[in-house]
């Protein structure tokens, strides 16, 4: 009985007229969000299971998990070295076992049907005695390279950019004259578009460019590196210019966190005889818990979306060394017009972002406890 009156009371609270006007206020945004955000999300979760093409007029066909199979398909294969007539393992001039070509396994007429069309992406566990080595083959090595590149970029950029941002924030949080000027200066790169930053750094990073000149001054024997054109350095160059552009933004966020820590806490710590490090460890750092989670999440999500720099500077090259997940969705979905195949990558990207935002939920809850 009591429950019923509770409900009728709640009912009364929302009266019909307010209900209508409330929806009226919300309607324009709701329609736009439905069409341009919710629908695309729904499609990114479903188009991957079709053969949709960008400019085809006929309706896309359901193809099941075919896109995902060709994207994620992997096999492990144990290669056996060729043997001499006496049954011992054949060795080359360096004393290493001679293994057959992987290509013989992956040719269209290969006896191993499941390996046809695959490519080697990794080999491990080479055993000289038994003459075996394990080979990992993938149906889509470019995808896996893009996946590992994206994760590598995020793993390096997140701690580096977050940490540098915090150091800068601590620096300009000191009570020093002119600190506002320094804050402004550190923030300015974040205002420049990533396209601008990319082209600017492309010039500076050239083989005979300014960066190489500067390194040459410090290290006399240094041989100039073509930073963006070298498979070993291209990703690091991208990481460097990305951090240069974005770190000022996170400095401001850290600064916002620092300003919420009450001055009395520092005074109390000082009267207890805490040194600078202890002040940071026991007052500043605990006070930045929420900011930390926010900074980590925003950098991670932005890092996983790495695209503009790649498109302007390297187009994923050289030899896929800078290809990323988003670059692959662009290249397959737009340039090759294979919306279905590209959406299957978007799907995986979506899951990745989802996992991270769930982690955020858990971390913030922990921080609140």
């Amino acid at each position: 009985m009591i429950a019923l009156t509770e409900i009728s009371k709640k009912r009364k609270k929302i009266n019909f007229k307010d209900n209508k006007i409330g929806w009226l206020f919300a309607l324009p945004a709701v329609i736009l969000l439905l069409f341009f955000t919710v629908l695309p999300i729904a499609l990114s979760l479903t188009l991957g299971f079709t053969n949709a093409q960008l400019l085809e007029t006929s309706n896309p066909k359901f193809v099941g998990t075919q896109n995902f199979k060709s994207l994620l398909g992997m096999s492990e294969f144990t290669l056996h070295a060729s043997r001499n007539a006496d049954g011992s393992v054949a060795k080359d001039e360096h004393g290493k076992p001679v293994f057959p070509q992987v290509r013989s396994l992956t040719r269209p007429d290969s006896p191993y049907v499941h390996l046809r069309g695959m490519q080697e992406i990794y080999r491990f566990g080479e055993n000289d005695k038994s003459g075996t080595v394990h080979v990992i083959l993938a149906r889509d090595p470019t995808f896996w390279r893009s996946m590992t590149n994206t994760l590598f970029f995020a793993l390096v950029v997140v701690p580096l950019q977050g940490g540098l941002g915090l150091l800068l924030a601590l620096l300009v949080h000191q009570k020093l004259k002119g600190r506002n000027i320094f804050r402004t200066i550190y923030f300015i790169p974040t205002l420049t578009s990533m396209v601008v930053v990319s082209l600017l750094w492309q010039f500076l990073l050239q083989q005979n460019g300014m960066i190489n000149r500067a390194i040459h001054l410090v290290i006399p024997g240094y041989i100039n590196i073509d930073w963006l054109g070298n498979t070993h350095t291209s990703m690091y160059a991208i990481i460097g210019l990305s951090i240069w552009q974005a770190v000022g933004y996170h400095m401001i966020i850290w600064l916002g966190g620092l300003q919420t820590i009450p001055e009395e806490l520092y005074e109390a710590a000082r009267t207890d005889g805490a040194n600078k490090w202890q002040e940071f460890r026991y007052v500043t750092w605990p006070g930045l818990r929420h900011t930390l989670v926010f900074v980590l999440i925003t950098i991670t999500i932005a890092a996983l979306g790495l695209f503009t720099q790649i498109n302007v500077l390297t187009q994923g090259g050289p030899l896929n060394s800078t290809s990323t997940l988003v670059y692959q969705t662009f290249s397959r979905g737009y340039q090759e017009q294979q919306i279905g195949a590209a959406s299957s990558i978007s799907f995986i990207f979506f899951i990745l972002v989802l996992i991270i935002s769930l982690l955020q939920r858990i971390l913030t809850r922990k921080a609140d406890q």
């Binding site: 324009p28 695309p40 999300i41 990533m194 000149r213």
Partner: protein, 289 residues
């Protein structure tokens, strides 16, 4: 001791300033130099000093080589329309969420919060597909119905008007307004529209400034979306204009630097004049997390 640490701090801050500024100083200075001198000067500190034959020739070169002012107009038009429409649409739903009671409100808010964190890159490809399927009316060569709204202003505007972050910021702000404000107005018989227009929005200055900036900057800088959807020069935004310079074999670095300066300087001036808005907006978004 105290002065010593102060000297160290200032030295450190100055070095960092150099790290953040040198590419930009180099960009502006180089935009004033002819190509040969620009390349020659990079080997020394002269790269940062406006010496030699200084002129605005690179800038006039940019203006003759590409329809710069068309691109500028397009970018300003698209960004400003998105900002203005976004302010209306996002503030009104936020007002409804923060101040009114209606069925489905919690559900709508849950969806907004869920999409808050989603990067645009996730939905770019499906959105491209949707836009290729939208029926549109073409008036060129008679009246007929076609598919796709590529190469237009609306494709650059429509997807970006409603924005979860803007809604979220407005909700946060409207929640801080005292409840008796609109309750008193309600008792006096004021309609919700009147309260929104005459009470809530006039008080929302800081939120409006923040949302305007947070909408304008990504619109001005947008790249992935126009690259995919705009092939027609008449609708191209300013960032895509850069392609004319770096996809060409006869790269003129002087002209590129001039173009980069033209893209960057207005935003920096805008920032310097509205710094308070910028900084508080970003800082608070982090604290609330």
């Amino acid at each position: 001791m105290k002065t010593l640490s102060r000297v160290t701090l200032y030295t450190l801050m100055t070095i960092m300033s150099f790290v953040f500024l040198f590419p930009l100083v180099f960009m502006v200075i180089s935009s004033l130099k002819p190509d040969a001198q620009l390349l020659h000067d990079t080997t020394s500190l002269r790269a940062f000093i406006p010496t030699g034959s200084i002129s605005f020739k690179n800038y006039s070169g940019v203006f003759t080589r590409i329809p710069f002012f068309t691109f500028l107009f397009n970018s300003l038009l698209v960004s400003l329309i998105t900002v203005v429409l976004g302010l209306f649409v996002n503030s009104s739903i936020a007002f409804a969420i923060a101040r009114m009671k209606w069925k489905g409100k919690n559900f709508v808010m849950a969806i907004i919060l869920a999409t808050l964190i989603l990067p645009f890159e996730v939905i770019a490809i499906p959105l491209l597909y949707i836009c290729a399927k939208i029926p549109s009316i073409s008036f060129t060569g008679g009246f007929h119905l076609t598919h796709g709204i590529f190469n237009s202003y609306q494709i650059q505007i429509l997807p970006f008007i409603a924005n979860a972050i803007s809604i979220f910021l407005f909700v946060q702000f409207f929640k801080t307004l005292p409840k008796d404000l609109d309750e008193a107005a309600r008792v006096d018989g004021a309609s919700w529209f009147l309260i929104y227009r005459k009470i809530a929005m006039p008080l929302a200055g800081p939120a409006i400034g923040t949302v305007a900036i947070l909408t304008f900057l990504p619109m001005w800088n947008s790249y992935l979306w126009p690259v995919m959807t705009i092939q027609d020069e008449r609708y191209r935004p300013i960032m895509i204009g850069l392609q004319y310079f770096y996809t060409n074999f006869q790269t003129s670095w002087g002209q590129i630097m001039a173009y980069l300066s033209l893209l960057t300087i207005p935003v920096v001036i805008l920032f310097l004049s509205m710094q308070r808005f910028f900084v508080t907006s970003i800082a608070t978004s982090g604290v609330k997390g």
